[in-house]
Symmetry: D4
């Protein structure tokens, strides 16, 4: 559209209906700024599947519904994360065809997303308390049309559980490892596979876990080379990172 | 210049020597990106007095001299901060007319900068150990053509010293308060004056000063309303912040 | 007034109606202490617009109303910040002509403040969750008679949004940039403009945002020279800092 | 007494009515341990006025009453700190002659304590939000029979307020300075007086006050020599420290 | 091979030349442990290009040469990181065909690695002080046969520099963004591209950069969705992470 | 059991009822992975007393009951820690023979565990507020059939209390020392005894105790050699550590 | 003196040799400011024994000698702390009658100070590595004419050593307890005595001592009521705090 | 010995060669204090193998030799830790029969210690950089007459290496696991064995390892139940902890 407007301006110049100086002002003035970003918008358009995501905290129920409506109008889909029960209820009422995941605190619409790409994400969790973060990751992936598989409750203190999942690990395209407490699981998984491993520390734990800081530091210092890390409890971000690889 | 190039393109379109589509490609393609930033460059040009500053750490003596030469070629001036003795010596040898301040670890060129604006900065220090940061501030100001005055060694533990400087404080346009250890001085000064107060924590102290963290936190929590803060030991930044007001 | 009292004393000494020793006691005794601070009071009087601000936390509703009454008696105006819903309700009941801003958690009186100075503040926010802090800033400015403009939701991850606001940015007198999470916006804005930029980190975020610490550190380390920083969530302080420039 | 028991044992050995080995067991066995600590108990007895203090958190109302009863039985007095409303109510019901201070969260019994020593404590506070800690300090002092005076709301941003209190400051025996936010007040007070200054940081503030850490660090780094510091919000500890001087 | 050994054992049992119990001991005893890890070794073999990397710190020159020799014997290549000048000199003397990068503190052998895969890494740096980390990243990639491109000195305070590099950014397969101080660059880059962005905080800065902590936190809290982060100064790890995608 | 399955397979091969290849698949295929860990399982089996422990947080009442049932089915016992009142009530209703400890927030089943080994644990606490952690430790020990003794309220500020407990200390097999606030008790106890001392910091305290961080650091830096430390408030872990010694 | 000057002015007014307005200018003008602080100066004069102390870091040898000379001129004494070997040598050369303490890094002059007051300080150290801080404390006290006694190497891990010093502890007027690592000693000492206890954390230790932070936190959280704390390694401050009591 | 002295005194009383009062003075007087600690000393005597250990830092070569001589006089053995090269050389010259371990920075004497107990320590290390801490542990054990075995370089990123060491792990009496960086190894080892596991974090790493803090937090939050932790780099403490079990 911006390109079209520029093209029209230039056509007017060629036609002599607009002087070069007038066109210059129109192009270089304030309205022109977005032009240089035309690519950006273009390439944002390419990844249509990733419209702005709704972050729940600090919005009341009518605000969150209004924002969802606006996004649906443009993209026919939305994803809301970290929603409260009240926010979820309001979205469900307005968009009955949505999928609400109470554990992951997400609502996405529509229920069925067209599959994007061919790869899938394996979400590995250390303990059952890490599941909410895994759910957020899976729901985000689902909203992007990416399939996720699970390997659950394979903390490193029971090594045989990790090893039992070896086959699943070796088949994965991208692995998201979700772990709280000592956050040691990504180091073990990272040493077993050669595909991308995205480590997500969780705030699961108490005392010196310092709300996930311990797990975060563990993962940043992983002795398995090439592990990358997201913010604490950021299942959403891990799925988005995986999407950068799977959908690129 | 960019504007000129755009104007030339448009003239060619008007003259029929270039089609609108060719011009579009030239404008919207990669070379066009900087266009939208023409203002930026324009307004950067307006503040000619603030060319890129040379940050000493990590450069060898020949590199720092080469960079200084390049900047002098374009701006006829330079400022280097946090320079080592060897870097300073190399710059002095190459630019004999420079001003080197060993305590402030700066070198600036030329010795005499034309005065900018009419305001001046008052640099207040809590203790003599804070002087290197005050010097860096003063030298940065000098390189911008801004005059600085001093009120030195007026730590809050000797309140009469602050009060003795009352007249000086009340005449200032902008006050930069440099303090380590407890960092309490900006709170006192901020309560005495109504002009802008820029607080610079220093790493002076030991033990629980944690390299300036204590002073930084004190200043961020100042009970004097409207105190603003820079990074620890950032005399350079304080002068630049003052310049944003005095030269705007 | 104090000066007058001193002058009267001296006149009595000259007239012989008071001995030098009596005058000395009157001057040097306890009541005299404020004398040296006469300037201070004088210049405080000059900025009449900034009477003591009421900080809500820890006051019950009758206390906060009583304090507001006392300040209104002397200054015909007040500003209360971080007020609870109950505190706001009590103030509204007592001062029907006040302006209560629930999002900014402020109450100010009277609704209409006379405009001070000619400059204005541009408040830029990275995300919608940063709005409460922006509101506190705007309300504080309003209580001082300073006009604020807004540039909202221009986080750096969507750079075209910042650039689209270029014209607004370039017209500002002082810019307050409010941002949580990565706190990167002030660095970008600071590089685009030459006016004062006051960065306000917010506690928006989770996990490794550590309640705003991440954004605070980002801003203190800004690669844009001359950015100054306030405490986390301190919209009030940012407005007060801006006032130091605009009203000086 | 212990010495007597030992002497008796030795007499029996001398008399041959007890073998050396039997005496050895009696002397070196478990019952002997307290012997070396006889002084300790003796000197604890000397400061009868400081029986064990009841720390409220984690005790239910019947527990706290029972503990208070036991202490009253032995010492005819008690002090409870950090009590909840329910705990306070229970203590008031059981000990109608007690003094409950809701702001300081203390209950002490009996209402009237005999005055100890001749000195008094001056409790200085920076802001009204620091009052709960000041109250805890004053109530602790009262329970020890020590008189406290007050100098309130003399934060350093309004220096004239501190100076107005000069006379009061200069008459004090021991000064407890209670301050949150920037915690700068003890540095100012410490520079004005030569008596002991005990600095108590409070958790008053937000953002980078980090629950009182900022004030704590400020005080530990005070540029006024000889300032000593207690834990955050520890009004109780400050009074106890003052008592060590006033009652020694 | 392990499978073959197991098969042989079972054949012997079937042939009656070994009892089930003997076979059981052979299978379940210590020598069997590696069996379950056969896949692992197999897949490790597949990525032959990534033999153990030599971490310089704490090794003397003869040790580091010996280790390099052992790895070269098995893999005909090696990569040493964080080497001292003395370590580099010793390796150069022993392996004249190596590539030593003093700025990146790496030595790799042989000089020419066969190209792996078809993708390449774009290494973007905020300032010239970040170059050592960028060099470590590039050398690691080179040792794996991966091509790297560069976009240098595009810190966010000069936004036009980032935008000028738009074309380069949009062509990249994987982007490694290296930045110290405020660490804001990955947020800007992440918002401009849809490919994987690996953010590497550096220890460049002073004061409240806390040796790279500020940049690390910024990146973990990036408002650009799907940014992943490595340890501070970990150029090596970023290349290894990129390799997981490019070589998978 | 796994060993039995392997033996059965081999017997079938020996008997000719299964071909070596069929057996190989059964042994080496995915199901085989656990085999290498047979020892592990075997030795886990040996300590039957330590089945998986149920961590309460994040489970609803029906989930926690279901998990407890599953564990009881296999092990005829269970231990649940950090349970809420509701969780405890649900478990009590389902397993009337359980032991619920509200202070320690544990439920264990059955009420009577067979005594394991001959040693016992001495749990020493500094203050009454540390009792919940001591209870968790004792209940964990009880669920393992280990006897615990107590030495309560022997904080180092009343040294005679520690010394009075000397006999008890000297008879202990393993000592768990539970302390909050200054966390000094393990240093004193560690210097008095030669048996293992496991130090458990608690979150008891306020202000600069930073939720137990102060006590944790104290214990890690103990001047009594050979003190080992667990996470903050980890009474469970201390009992498990003691069990490693007493039941080995 | 200031009072005298004021009195003289008033006498001149009374005598008619100076008009009231002239006197007013002299009194209220800039030179008057110090007036309100007359008490301050007066009382500062009273503690003549505590002239400004010279803090070594950041001064070259000629600067430190010059400052010492100036202080000696006014006060006939000086104390320099944290001096380097070169600084000490320069001071010794200039003031041969000084006392240099290499371990405490102090130089004081003259060698013999007149005894002030009747009380003395007991300096208790946990380990021999804490001696430098103890020496700084003792030298500071000596420079003030205060006698110090010692109780050395009585760390809490060897409780009998503390108890052996019981008699010494009970005779002290003020006790300074110097301890690194776990910092537990003040809690034990504070529980044994009723006199003031000033706790000085030292940076002795490694790892999780975090340069004295562990000891600092321990002391701030001491379970012995009424312990006060100084900055890490601040032997100087502890002596000054003791002086506030002993010399008041 | 103390018991012997008491017994001798009593024998003299029984024999009539000493009066009860004389014996009383000898037993209960000032010299008596240690008596109550007779058990302590007695039991300290029992572990003769653990005389005071010499901590190198802060001692000059003549001091360290003198201390070693004094300890050798009483105990015929010594252990010095964290010794500098110069300290080691001085000790070697004086005690040619000592064992100096440059990597572990220890010197112990005599070379051959009599074996204590029957158990042994297995020291497991994650990487070769962790060896100095492992050496300190082994030398400390050797000085106590305890045998150590090694399992080296078995970091969790190469899980097959841990599993290959399974037999060694299962035979250990006490396991000390030494690991830096992510500190994940103790979690894995702790899940594989049932004997005591003492985790020692090391300062190996960079950036967000924060000098071992990351590994420390990982270990404190280990998901393997019953892991205990020492200070960072505290190989000495781990051996002493192991000795508490093996020699009790």
């Amino acid at each position: 559209m911006i390109r079209e407007r520029a093209r029209a301006l230039l056509a007017e110049v060629a036609a002599g209906t607009r002087t070069p100086d007038e066109a210059l002002d129109a192009l270089v003035g304030a309205p022109l700024e977005p032009l240089a970003f035309a690519h950006v918008d273009h390439q944002r358009a390419l990844r249509q599947g990733i419209p702005e995501v709704i972050y729940g905290p600090g919005k009341n129920t009518s605000e969150i519904v209004a924002i969802a409506e606006r996004i649906v109008d443009r993209h026919a889909r939305f994803l809301a994360t970290r929603v409260s029960d009240a926010q979820a209820a309001a979205l469900i009422e307005r968009f009955p065809d949505c999928v609400a995941n109470p554990r992951g605190r997400t609502v996405r619409f529509p229920a069925r997303a067209e599959r994007s790409g061919t790869g899938s994400i394996l979400v590995v969790t250390a303990g059952t308390s890490d599941l909410p973060v895994a759910e957020e990751c899976a729901e985000t992936a689902a909203s992007l049309g990416i399939v996720t598989n699970r390997l659950t409750d394979v903390g490193v203190a029971g090594l045989h559980r990790v090893v039992s999942g070896m086959d699943v690990l070796l088949k994965a395209d991208v692995i998201v490892v979700v772990a709280g407490m000592d956050g040691a699981l990504p180091s073990v998984v990272g040493g077993l596979v050669r595909v991308p491993v995205i480590a997500v520390p969780t705030s699961v734990g108490y005392g010196a876990s310092f709300e996930g800081l311990a797990a975060l530091l563990t993962m940043l210092n992983s002795c398995a080379a090439g592990i990358v890390v997201t913010n604490i409890d950021n299942g959403f971000g891990a799925a988005m990172a995986a999407a950068r690889w799977l959908l690129k």
